[in-house]
Amino acid sequence: MNSIGIGDTVDIVLFDVESGKIREFAVSTAVTDPIHTERDVARDAGFASLPATLTHSVVTGHQRDQHAFVSALGLDISRVVVGSVSWRYLRTLVAGDSLTATRTVIADESKRGMRFVTLETAFADAEGALVLTQTDVLIERAA
């Protein structure tokens, strides 16, 4: 049984973009551009603080209950894989940003015995402006 369907909000996560976390992402993904870790470089490029790396929004994983939302979608977690993820950037996230991430179901289709659930997460800054959208396609393989 699904308790949430198309158009419904899956979850809302509030988080702050932090310079220490930006460094963790830069180091763990082998980023070489010093703009993410050196304040002078960031400032010279016109940023008020350190810019986040491109997939920083993944940090919301720290605040989500994977099992809860998968079961709310009526999916069997042992058969679920992430098929694709995409990001659309309206501006660069920087340390000090306070963001609200609202995740919504935008599509739910069955093809060839598999189920494809598309989730879109809208990230808004403290002023309420949309700064980033992330789209995830979850695939539930046939039982």
Binding site: K21, E24, F25, A26, V27, S28, T29, A30, V31, T32, D33, I35, H36, A45, G46, F47, P51, A52, T53, L54, T55, V58, V59, T60, G61, H62, Q63, R64, Q66, V81, V82, G83, S84, V85, S86, W87, R88, Y89, T92, T135
Partner: protein, 137 residues
């Protein structure tokens, strides 16, 4: 802002080799991103799921490709980035990151990106970036 770089259709981006992927690499990324699925840190769980040992999370490979992209074009010039997960990456794998400029329209370029292990794609990606237009002096 830093000036965008020039991109030419058909241009191959600088390749990057990452690895061999270690347990520490996977755990370090788990700590950064918050993915504590046991498939990525518990060898027994991973074996029960049919793998030889723990596997990396798709977001690790996505992050490696994103790093190549932003290191080459500048994080502030990336408009869109997308990845499709083709197959898992395991311990000891060396990931080769590559990319190509597919189209350039004015100041926007579309790129194709690939992460592969032993010549087989593990993640395929696309990106749209701001570049220096051809008639920009």
């Amino acid at each position: 802002m830093r000036p965008p770089r020039v991109a030419v259709v058909g241009e191959s981006l600088d390749r990057r080799l990452i690895g061999p992927v270690s347990r520490a690499d996977i755990v370090r990324f788990a700590g950064a991103g918050g993915d504590f699925n046991p498939l990525h840190h518990d060898p027994e769980f991973a074996r029960a799921a049919g793998f030889d040992d723990v596997i990396a999370m798709g977001q690790y490979q996505a992050g490696l490709l994103a790093a190549l992209l932003s290191d080459l074009f500048g994080v502030e010039n990336v408009l869109e980035f997308g990845v499709r997960f083709v197959r898992p990456v395991g311990l000891g794998d060396t990931v080769e990151l590559s990319g190509e400029v597919m189209t350039v329209t004015g100041v926007v370029a579309d790129l194709k990106l690939t992460a592969s292990v032993e010549g087989e794609p593990v993640v395929t990606g696309t990106a749209r970036v701001r570049v220096q237009g051809e008639d920009t002096p």
